[in-house]
């Protein structure tokens, strides 16, 4: 699951800036925190964020799939090749500071991925566009952000169509890993070439509909914002600033 999932959770109903501010705070917080316990509290916060959005299961599953290879790499790089002292874990002599480092880095990645996936799943691109339009953000920037949020679901949909078409023409998807890898060619090539071929028309169509206009766009249905949400976004900003101040204070100490 990567993409927007319609719903009625508090995150779905919140102003898009509020949800994005929470995801942003998780991202910035991940780099401000340096101890394994702190980072794993942040992972817990990311999981709570996903749970509030009603997308915990879907987001956690995808986050796990995306984070596991990084975890494996961190384990080898820091846990096995890290500095002394070492502790025995079964047949492995693991580096104690290396494991702590792997836990911090892995926790950061997990928290960031989980937060990002939750924001993707709960921020409707349409509401985000309306919010940014109402805020006077130039359309170019709005389009860049919104199309980034929607590109993966669109590509996935297109890939499914190409896959069906290629299967109708005899493409076999099963078999050995090598055979599966070989099947990627007939999928990836039309996917990329098709997307590139349509870019010209998309640019023309957007231009024809005034996307390049210098007039300030009218927001048709801007999502409601509230004093409480603005206060929450301000509080998150302060929290991140405090976390960084704490980090640098500790570094000096």
């Amino acid at each position: 699951m990567i993409g927007y999932l319609p719903g009625h959770s508090p995150l779905h109903r919140a102003h898009p800036y509020t949800t994005l501010a929470m995801a942003g705070a998780l991202l910035l917080g991940a780099f401000a925190l340096t101890q394994p316990l702190e980072v794993w509290l942040l992972v817990l916060a990311a999981a709570t964020f996903a749970a509030v959005g009603g997308v915990l299961r879907a987001s956690a599953r995808t986050a796990l799939v995306l984070s596991l290879p990084i975890w494996a790499l961190l384990f080898v790089l820091h846990g096995m090749l890290g500095a002394e002292p070492r502790m025995m874990a079964g047949p492995f002599a693991l580096s104690v500071p290396g494991i702590a480092r792997a836990l911090v880095l892995g926790g950061r990645v997990t928290a960031i991925v989980l937060g990002f996936l939750t924001a993707l799943a709960t921020v409707s691109p349409h509401r985000l566009v309306e919010a940014m339009t109402a805020g006077g953000v130039p359309f170019g920037r709005t389009f860049l952000l919104a199309s980034t949020l929607t590109v993966l679901p669109r590509m996935r949909e297109r890939a499914a169509q190409i896959l069906e078409a290629q299967q109708c023409r005899g493409l076999r998807l099963g078999g050995s890993p090598f055979a599966r890898l070989r099947a990627l060619g007939p999928l990836a090539l039309p996917l990329v070439l098709g997307a590139l071929a349509e870019v010209d028309e998309q640019v023309l169509a957007l231009d024809a509909r005034g996307a390049a206009s210098t007039a300030r766009r009218t927001a048709l249905d801007p999502p409601p914002d509230s004093r409480a949400q603005r206060a929450l976004r301000g509080a998150l900003l302060i929290l991140v600033a405090v976390a960084y101040a704490w980090k640098f204070w500790r570094m000096r100490g």
Binding site: H126, T133, L204, A205, S213, T218, D221
Partner: protein, 253 residues
Amino acid sequence: MTALVALEGVTFTYPGADRPALADVSLELASGDLLVVTGETGAGASTLLLVATGFAPRVVGGTLTGMRRIAARRCGVVFARPWTQLTGLCATVRDEIAFGPASQGLPRETIRAAAGRAMEGLRIAHLADREPARLSGGELQRVVVAAALAMEPEVLALDDPAAELDPEAADALYDVLPAVAAAGTAILVATPDLERAARVARRAVALAAGRIVARGAPAEVLGGTAVADIARAAGCPPPFPVDVPALLRRVRR
């Protein structure tokens, strides 16, 4: 009457091309015109649309020589593949159609009224709350045409607009065009669908290798095929059917 678009000896070459896509083309388009452009694939009909509406070379690049004057303040363009013309940012058909007027910064009431008129004109008011990505190709093409009309263009270019439509929807689309032209919009249609084009067009031009090889009344220009000659010899009233299926349909009627 003042021409909305005037081309005189225009030659246009795409970037990197070794020969021009349009050569020495002269054409005038006035308010209320309904001009059909036809020719073999690669004859330059689509390019003529882009040049006449100002999108070439401004958006697509390339070089243009000769005299081109575009007095129209707003030009719309619709391509054959409707899915490439969606913004991807709108949750409903209503918002998709309102995208263009919203780009012009018009007041909300004006935008909603323009979108409503366009939907009524294309008989798609019942689709207003549907998600654009979930529509059929035929429905989508009508949405795209309505989106172009909602901007109230002075010149509307349609590039093979019925390519994705079933015969009934194609008839419905072509039936709308005379009313749009009568309201003052100059319409340019590039299409291989000569029978439908002949039914609605006021003028026609035929292109070959980027040059205009015939121009005049639709029956004269579009009827220049062997099938049309047979129909003419048989005393069939114009517009003459231009291919065998069209001739058979006419005979059955």
